[in-house]
């Protein structure tokens, strides 16, 4: 005997929201498939936080961008557990040895942040898109890869290198539905002590579902130009193109 597959009465409503509406029940609980879907989503999010960033795997791609030899650094947070408990340690580099300095207009710091997966999946193509959007106009610094890092670590790195405008590409805190979202934080004239109000952020980069590389790079290019014209970044610097720019 074959039974017709029942139509999902929620089908017409699901496109209205990403929220997990109309989940199948088992008694007063959730059906097995739902419980497994949720635990799988949580597993992806937790792996994004805890699987260490394989910087070695990123180096060939970063090197091919033609920005010079990538430099690897670490923060003062010596392991993930300490990183999670002590955000202050993730904001300071363990050392600045090996950093070149030069009269660069734009620098790139690639930081694992809270999602190594976001960096592993999106950092190389995102920097490539940034090089394409910025390279004809500006002198670009070699990329710096830094682990156990928070956004503000870029202030030390940018200052040491003499970078005028710094872009920190960092893994964003994973949600249950998106574990690989990358953010770009722009800081003009980076130096230790800069506050978050002095930065601009492009968030939610994770094509194909989220913001695409070229779109993010175009926004970044407008913000770099705007910061140079204004002489500062942060709350006074607006991207007036109407492109997504999240706080």
């Amino acid at each position: 005997m074959t039974e017709a597959v029942p139509l999902d009465p929620w089908a017409a409503l699901r496109p209205t929201t990403q929220a997990r509406i109309g989940l199948p029940r088992a008694g007063m609980g959730m059906a097995t498939t739902t419980v497994l879907e949720l635990s799988t989503a949580l597993a992806a999010a937790r792996d994004a936080v805890h699987v260490p960033l394989d910087t070695g795997a990123l180096l060939p791609g970063m090197t091919e961008l033609g920005l010079g030899t990538p430099i690897e650094l670490r923060s003062r947070a010596t392991d993930r557990a300490l990183y999670l408990r002590r955000p202050d340690l993730g904001r300071v580099p363990e050392g600045l040895d090996g950093l070149p300095s030069g009269a660069w207009d734009v620098g790139f710091v690639i930081a694992d942040g809270l999602s190594s997966r976001a960096v592993a999946d999106h950092a190389v193509p995102q920097v490539a898109a940034l090089v394409k959007a910025l390279g004809h106009e500006f002198r670009l610094a070699p990329p710096v890869l830094v682990t156990q890092a928070r956004v503000a670590i870029g202030d030390w790195i940018g200052e040491a290198m003499g970078v005028r405008t710094l872009l920190v590409l960092i893994g964003e805190r994973p949600g249950l539905s998106v574990a690989d979202s990358l953010g770009i934080y722009l800081t003009h004239e980076p130096r230790p002590g800069r506050t978050d109000a002095e930065r601009n952020c492009i968030s939610n980069i994770h094509p194909p579902a989220g913001l695409g590389y070229a779109e993010a790079a175009a926004t970044a290019a407008r913000l770099v130009a705007g910061a140079r014209a204004l002489g500062r970044s942060g709350v006074d610097l607006k991207d007036t193109s109407g492109a997504p720019e999240l706080p």
């Binding site: 409503l13 209205t16 989940l23």
Partner: protein, 470 residues
Amino acid sequence: MITTQTVNGHSYRFDSLVDLLAKATPLRSGDELAGCAATSEEERAAAQWALAEVELSTFLSEEVVPYETDEVTRLIMDTHSAEAFAPVSHLTVGGLRDWLLEVAARSGAGDVLTALAPGLTPEMVAATSKLMRNQDLIAVGRACRVTTGFRTTVGLPGRMATRLQPNHPTDDLRGVAAAILDGLLLGCGDAVVGINPAGDSPQVTADLVALVDDVRQTYDIPLQSSVLAHITTTIGLIEAGLPVDLVFQSIGGSQATNTSFGVDLALLREGREAGLSLHRGTVGDNVTYFETGQGSSLSANAHLGTGGRPVDQQTLEARAYGVAREFEPLLLNTVVGFIGPEYLYDGKQIIRAGLEDHFCGKLLGVPMGVDVCYTNHAEADFDDMDTLLTLLAAAGVNFVITVPGADDVMLGYQSLSYHDALYIRNVLGLRCAPEFEGWLVAQGMADPTGKVFGAELGASRLRELVGAVG
């Protein structure tokens, strides 16, 4: 106040009440981050011995945050009732713990504790909680009765309400309506339908307020709504004539924390009066709704107290309840695991904090709910949330937060699911708020004993709810 305490042959010195409170606090990452935590388990045990000996009257003469510079301290001190305090005024902190457990074990405990509340300061309550195990926090929390009302009555014995939280990343009205529909079909929403707007624009807030009011009237549901915008936005909506039910604000336990939220006591008072002016409640006039959470002061760098020393995050959280009770809220919930692992590291710390917050709030007379929640970078998972929900239900929590599938797709964290509410109602026999329960029974979604079944979409007249939006 300088205290020394010897345990196991080692002597420990605590150089102020602030220091002693912090070091007596069960381990949590936020106090380590602030640099005020005990540096060893033995130092913590010594601090707890010393704190147990502190006279409760000490808290009326020694300020944790200076009176001169902090209006929260002034509120706490100026509204303290010596009369209500009298039954316990001779006790130490340890003595109060014993007294509370003895009261909780007797009949009529609720009335005794309700009468005591105005005599307790947040600091006394926080101090006592530091000497209590989880079972003590549950036993005394359960004995407290804090009942409030608007269109539903929240906090009655044997009942637990839910906030239905239908957040949407772009505030899409049909998407919000779909999540409301999902929650109503699972019997949620009797505490409030409360929406965190993705944007803080008055127009978006107004549209969401109007949406929930339409749903409420169309289906004749006894519920109240709240759109969790800044209080100034809500006051503006009230002045513009929108159908605002509850006036929401995030608050903290120091003046500087509240400044970081863009509020002060005068503004909270203005917001409450604006809400009261509408006379929209039917069974009560508790018109405010607050959210709090351990760590909010430290994250705003607003955690320093007397002598410039860091105050532990749990004491500051209790002080936030001292702010709240002045404004007679319908609801207050701690957003316990939302802030991240640098404040509450793992499931153990989140569970402990949830029980502490519930106990402290209830003992101070605040209608406590809890957002049982965590973020993906905390060492916690769905099992920890099941545990905390079950413990809080045992403790008699007034309400919990529920979202579709436990996944808040706007705020990016995990709370409880609508299904989790069904689970705990069924296992512990907890009923909905009576007015809402009556509606569920009329819809065939609960039986006359209050057992909630929910309903399938196709079988419910609510299925047209979303189609009518937009």
